[in-house]
Structure formats: C-alpha cells, structure tokens
Symmetry: C2
Subunit: 434 residues, 2 copies
Amino acid sequence: MTDIQRLSTADADFRTRLDALLAWESVSDDRVGQIVAEIIRSVRARGDAALLDYTTRFDRWTPVSPAALEIPRARLEEAWQSIHTAQREALEQASARIRAYAEHQKLASWSYREPDGTLLGQQVTPLDRAGLYVPGGKAAYPSSVLMNAIPAKVAGVGELIMVVPTPDGELNDLVLAAAHIAGVDRAFAIGGAQAVAALAYGTATIPGVDKIVGPGNIYVATAKRAVFGQVGIDMVAGPSEILVICDGATDPDWIAMDLFSQAEHDEDAQSILVSWDGDFLNQVAASIDKLLPTMERAPIISSALNRRGALILARNLDDAIAVANSIAPEHLELSIEDPESIVGRIRHAGAVFMGRYTAEALGDYCAGPNHVLPTSRTARFSSPLGVYDFQKRSSLIQASRAGSAELARIASVLARGEGLTAHARSAEYRGEDV
Amino acid sequence: MTDIQRLSTADADFRTRLDALLAWESVSDDRVGQIVAEIIRSVRARGDAALLDYTTRFDRWTPVSPAALEIPRARLEEAWQSIHTAQREALEQASARIRAYAEHQKLASWSYREPDGTLLGQQVTPLDRAGLYVPGGKAAYPSSVLMNAIPAKVAGVGELIMVVPTPDGELNDLVLAAAHIAGVDRAFAIGGAQAVAALAYGTATIPGVDKIVGPGNIYVATAKRAVFGQVGIDMVAGPSEILVICDGATDPDWIAMDLFSQAEHDEDAQSILVSWDGDFLNQVAASIDKLLPTMERAPIISSALNRRGALILARNLDDAIAVANSIAPEHLELSIEDPESIVGRIRHAGAVFMGRYTAEALGDYCAGPNHVLPTSRTARFSSPLGVYDFQKRSSLIQASRAGSAELARIASVLARGEGLTAHARSAEYRGEDV
C-alpha cells in the first residue's frame, strides 16, 4: 500500500502541511563550492591542459591531445545512421514539432516614429555563440538535446557548442544522433565544472560562448552559478513536479501513471493530485497500489510519492485552481471536461496540459513546447526555455533635431534635480542648437 | 591636461590594452557575503523585529512600530505637491514617454491549432507582486524609480512595493514624487540587505514579492544574488559605460560632454570614443581639457577618464563597428551622418543612440526606452529592463483525441529509449484509447 499523503483544503493545518511538502531549497554546499572554484581557476589559468587532467581524473580516459576532445561532425552523423529506424523517425518527428512551435516564439525588431521625426524602437539579435551542457552516463537524455538546441538554432545563434562527458570514453549514440538532427555545430567530450569553465572563458580548443544552458549535477549547477555574469545561464532547476487537477472522470489508471511519470525521475520529484471527488482520490490510490509493482523504477516512484507526493481533496474546481496558483507547478494537468474555459484563470505554471488526452509525457518529448520549465515555484516569475532565451534586445533612439530640443528640456530639469550636471549640459547642447 | 589613454586599432598591442581597460569583475567579498547571510537569516527568523533593529543600527532612526515603516500613499502625494512645478512637469512628461514606449514591449498570449484539432500556445501573465529597491542618500535618483516602476505597472503587476532606506529618517521628496506618478502601490522606509530579505520572504508588515528589481550598494547586490531562486531578480549592474563612434563632424564639445556624462557617475565608469579621424580625437581631447575645470564633479570625471577612458583611432567605420561589437557597450552613441544605414550591423549594445542630436542623457531620463541596461559586456546575452521582465509565459498543450495517438507513438519510442517506462505507459494509455 502506498503511503502517499492525503490532505484536504478544509483541514485547519492544510497550508502548513502543503508548505512542508513543497519546501525545497537548492543545496548550496560549501565543499562543492570550493572544489568548483578551484576547477574554474585552473581552467582559466591552464586552459586545455587542465581539461585533459580533469578528464583523466573524473571521466577515466586520457585524450591523446586537446584536439581529441572534439567529437567530429562525422561521428554525430554516424550515430544518426546507427540507431534504430523507429528512433530516427521519432527524433525527426519530435524535432520538426519542437521547431515549428519554436518558430512562433521568435521575437522581432520593432520601431515607431513620433510626429517630430524622432525614432524609438528595439532591435532584436541572436547570441553569437551558445553552449549546451548535456549530462553523461545514465541521465543522458536525447530529448534534452532537442529541447535545448532547437530553440537556439531557431533564434539564429551563430554557433552552438555541445559538451558531454564521456565516462570511460563511452559515447551515447542516441545523444549524438539527437545533436545531429538538432543542428549542433561542434561537440566536445568534456563534462563537469571544467566544461562549464571552458565554455565560459574559452580555451585554445574550446570556444568561449555567451550563454550556457542545459541540466547537470550539483558541480555543473554550482559552476553555472559561479560563471553567471561572465556568460548568461538558464535557470538552475530543482526536482521535477506535476500537479494534476482532475474532475474525477478520467481513468484513474491514467492519472496514477501520470503521477508515476514525474516520480520516476528521482526520489525528490513531486507528484500531486487535486480533486473535489473524494471517491476518485480513493480510486487513484487503488490504481497506484495496483500499478506500482509493475513499474521498472518502482522503488524510486514509491519513495518519491511517499516523501513528496499528495492526494488533495478540494472543495470544488475554484478551490483546486487556487491550490494550483499557490503551488505554481512546473507541470499542470487539467484533466477535466472543458479546460479551455478555465485556463485563463491559471496564473502560474510552467506548462499546462489541457484535457484527458494530454498526458504530461507528450510534452516531455514531442508536442512542441519546451520541456525545460521553471520548477520549485519559480513559475511565479519565470518562463519555459524558448527562442527568446537565445535572443537579446538593444534599445534604439534617434532624436530628430526638433525632438531633441523638447527631450533636452525635460532631461535637463531632471538631471539637475539629481545633481548630474554633465548629463544636463550634454542634453542642453543639443537643445540650444535648434 | 587629461591623461586619457590613446589607442589605435592598428597597434600590435591594441587588443591587450583594450582588454585591460574593459576588465571588470564584480567584487565578491567574503566578509560582505557573511554579513548579508546573517541579515537574511535574522529577517527570516525574526521578521519585523529584525527590520526595526537593523533600521536603528544602519539608518540611525527607530520606528515606533513595524507599521511606522510604511510611507503612506498620502505622503507620496504630498511630496508630489511639494516639488517645483518644472520638476513635476518634467516627471509627468518623462513618465508619459516611458509608458508609451513600454506599451510596445508588452508580450501577448498566442496559440494555434493543428489540422487534427491539437492546440499549442503560450499564455502570458503578469507577476502577482514585484519589489522595487531604491537607494537612499545621495544616490537617490527619481529617474530610476520611473524606469523600474513603469514597466512593472504596464505589465499589469498586481502590486508594486517600493523600499527605500531613509538614513536619519530623511525622506527624499523627488523620489517619493516619482513613486507617486509611477504608480507605486505601497512604500516602506527600509533599505540594505534587510529590505531585500523582507521582500524575498515577507514579514508580518512587508509583503513577500515574486521579483526584486532596482540598483543598490554591494550589500543590496549580494543580498539579491543570495535570494535569487526564492524570487526573481534583475541583473546585478556593473559600472556605467558609454562608447561613442563619431565620424568627426559632431561638435567636439558635445562629444566631450557625452563622455563626461558617464564619467560623472563614479570613478569606475567607462567612457570611450572611437573615430577614424585622428584630428577629431585631438579636438575632443582639447575640449576635455577646456571643459573639465568647469564641471561640478570634475575630480570624479577626471579619475574615471584617466583610469578607464580611452580615445581610439580606428581605420574606418567598419573597424569602429567591429570595436563596438567586441565591447558590447551598455550605451552606444552613433554620432555619424547616417546611423540608420549601419545600426543593423550592431550586434551587441544595451541601447543605441543614433545621430548627433541623440545625447545619451536623453535616454537616461525621458526618451522612452529604459535606462536599466546590461553592463560589463553582458549585452552579448541580455537585454534592457522592460515590460517583459514583469511577465512570464506558460506553455499550453491540448492534444485532441486523434492528435494524442500520434504524439503518444513518438513519445513512447523516445521515452523507452531513455529508460523512462512510466512516461511511455502514460503516453500509450492515451494512444490505445483511440
């Protein structure tokens, strides 16, 4: 029997118990911080030589030269040819859908002219170069390569550099195949904090980039935080989460499996179901008990559900929506009859999966939207990874001669109010000239 | 005579000398980090009581109660009435222009439907609550209140909370007046790391927010970095910078004053002029010598120009553009005849000021675009503060019954390739149902 927690929004201690379940602070480990700082220092000082040393030490293989760190494009192509046809087709179809969705996200430059001829606007440009970190070993996910690489390419990033550790020199063909189809420009067999440092500062072999994206372990996450400012980074993700709101009319086995699909990621993953149908919650609990023994990753699922999962009885749909908005989940399933009528009331969620047929897993692989989403309540202020993360804006101002006189008058008053006389005089010169 | 450096792109050591000038690493001071960590711990544990203690200690006044920390809306209105008419008008005109420009930045929700009825899109929502940090004392800039507050209000942020330290209990009427016209909802007389902690975690008196923006000293910047993740933050800014590209036909006094207008901010500010007209560089040097003694902040300007400024001789316009793109300046002035013909070749800049009449100072106060801009080469990957910083996106996916079968097939192949069986089965349930 599962020990998943049962809560009710009517309970006096509901908020306290929910907060306890949600509580998650990313670990900042002093020892890890020191190791990472030392690795970054070493890569900045010694460049490629440091990369060779760390690769020998952490990945247990010794490249014959820095150039041997590069995985040639031909090797990506070879991986693409080597995988099963069904996998190649699935990667192709997923890529096409992710690309089509990403095209909708592209920001465009804009400008407008005022009556006096003054032009104002914003010019949008892609990053010159982006770096994509891909974990090695068992957490090597080809879908993650597609989700991080395709938006960068759609944005028009000049060069996309992938780094992937190859423990014991082993390459993962599915990951390389995904890099091939996603359009990765160059790939290097390095990982860990040393790969992040190399991308941030560049070495003779590894090109320095402007932004680093992609998931990694605590060393990678700590290194990304440390180089932030030197380069841009995507967010540092917490454990995966799903919140399902169900009206009680979806097959309870489906809902149980949706909860499992987050829980199987790791023991810290969070799966929560909210319904106003108490009997349905019991049915899902029964489905959990029935299906759990059939799952390959049953121990992880069971641990995640028991530690961080919950079945929550709400008063009604409105109450369930209020719970969702207070949780601001990474994934929100609206497994209800008419999701379109209520989606406008969802204020915070990374992605919303609407209707009984929209399993969250469809979004993880191929629906089109990105699977890199804000976790740990950060959907309150941040967004899914997208094309816009690989573009940036420059403001444009072109004052006409007449316009500058008017602007100079306003600027002069405000600059003098702030005691910044050079600002005032610089503006006044233009005003006096008209 | 000014000691501003003279460089030429033709010199063999040009890149080395330029890199030395540009070098800037934000100081991460261990002692400051420890003090800030202790302040955050204390505010989280003791709430309002900690705020009262720190206000007594750092701002040298003792509120009679936590409620006394609030600056009532009537006090903002009173400040608005108390300032000079010319200042009120200038704040009104600047606000209207900043608001008009910001309206162009608003992101809108979008969606599209595929032939099989599957819906994909992105829903855009404003933050519930944002916090605006405003420095106290001599660095109190009303223009900064407008630039941070107006985009938040245009985005539709539910509640905008301003915090401003009041050393010795002194309020700055210009700042309060700017808060009034910008539509700040609530204001509190607290500052420093304790104000950042209060906004991030909330106290009985200070509402917790979802994102904190606005400039501050090293304690404030360190606190913002520390609470990042719990809340969103804007970027941590480095010293202000201007790069002027001039064809030699602008009045050299104007250009000298434009360089001063950055240099007067502080001794770390960076002012650089690039021209392919060597004689013009000499004329600007002469203008600097002539005008510097007339400036109120001459010692700061002189120090900034001598330490971090430069007059750079380029080969031609193309060469000057290459310098600009490699510097990725916060402010870029194109003081040339036909700026529109070359602005498309500017790949990295916070804001571009086009034409001889567009003094950078116009953008600081009233042209419309934001004056909160990426510094220290971060324009390579980040953008001016804007309405989009107070909005976030949620992906929308609604698979039709037919669409889910197709998506389930792809997802199943990829999920099994990654060893995530619950993902596969959750997708397959939907596929099998059709």
